[in-house]
Amino acid sequence: MLRMALVFFLSLFLVAPLAAQDTQTPTAPDRSATGGAQTLEDILARQRGEPVDDAFRKNNTGDPDAAAGIAAQLGTLGGASDPEVWRALRYGSADVTVSAGGEVASVLMQDGGMRWLEFRRGPLPKWGGWLLLGTLGLLLLFFLLRGRIRVDEPMTGRTVTRFKAAERFGHWLLAGSFVILGITGIVVLFGRLFIAPYLGKEVNAVLLDWSKWVHNNVAWAFILGLIMVFVMWVAHNLPSRTDITWLRQFGGIVGKAHPPAKKFNAGQKFIFWSVILLGGSIAISGLSLLFPFEMPLFAKTFSVLNQIGIPGWFGMDPLPTALAPQEEMQLAQLWHAIVAFVLMAIVLAHIYIGSVGMEGAFDAMGTGEVDEAWAHQHHSLWLDEVKDPDAKAPEGATPAE
């Protein structure tokens, strides 16, 4: 009797959970949000090992009327085909929605990228490289023909202060950073062409990594130096009538004449404005590259150029004003490099004339002190002003011979 009772109770314990399970039979979830397709809950239930009634999927075949409407979120493509979608992606006209990354991430294929790549690895290093080598060649030729420009009169031993410490600091801040930026920029552009094949890709990769870091961070010193130099010297670099005399006599670079000049002669003014305008443009395009996609420059610039009608002057179609964010960056990179090549060529000539090309020129920016004989030969009007600040030199002064 006791055994019978035990069996009865055991049976109750065993059957009770089964009965309880029967009461947990899953009810069909609401699948309206997915248009009848399986929901997250269906997937989770399957992963938990719970029975899922998949009749809603299994039987949902072969009935066109069961499909979502064309305009519905999960509708079929209707009259459009898959290739049309891919074509729209290819040409940037697809209606792409992204959850992160903004406008940049919505561009899946960017046509202009290939044009940029081809130009960056072909014409840009080729013509840029030849420009620099050609400039160096011309300077060497000029040195061989003209030799070092000497001070004609004997040195007096008396010096005048040509540049104060703050001026020299600003100059060398700008010059030092520009040389570093130039070298690292060249490594970035030419590394794959001239370093990787000879020293290996690993060496090139390390140099590239370092160059990028240095280039990005030294840029701020360049911008600061540019502002300092502009503020300190702009007043001395405004065009004046003495520039015409100076240019007529080729600045004494060709021939034996020594045309009068104030603090800066026309040649130096050309260097100054080249550095300010080209350097400023390099700085702005560089900032656009330092903060990618934050400072697009070219769509707006092209729009202004189109409004003026400049492309038409050269028989060109209007420039594109609808640019992908990536294309803005590509154009900024090309502009940055092209203008930098031009400025590097100009600065090479400046470095030449300020060092080996002219006797006594380096002292002006080295110690800041120049011999009066040098000052009289190259900047006679400025020397007069320094020696007698009250007397103003006449604009059309005769050349100092």
């Binding site: 020299r168 600091f169 060398w172 010059a175 961070n217 840029a219 701020w220 010193a221 903060f291 920016m365």
Partner: protein, 42 residues
């Protein structure tokens, strides 16, 4: 020549300071173009 060397030194100091400041201000590429769901280190 002192101004020249001070100028060169300033280039180095400004570069290091710019790097530290911009990274701290959240301007590193990692901070700007990545998110918590992306693991870039290690």
């Amino acid at each position: 020549m002192k101004a020249m060397f001070v100028g060169f030194a300033a280039v180095v100091v400004i570069a290091i300071a710019a790097n530290i400041l911009l990274n701290r201000a959240g301007f590193s590429s990692q901070d700007v173009h990545s998110g918590p769901a992306v693991r870039l280190d290690g």
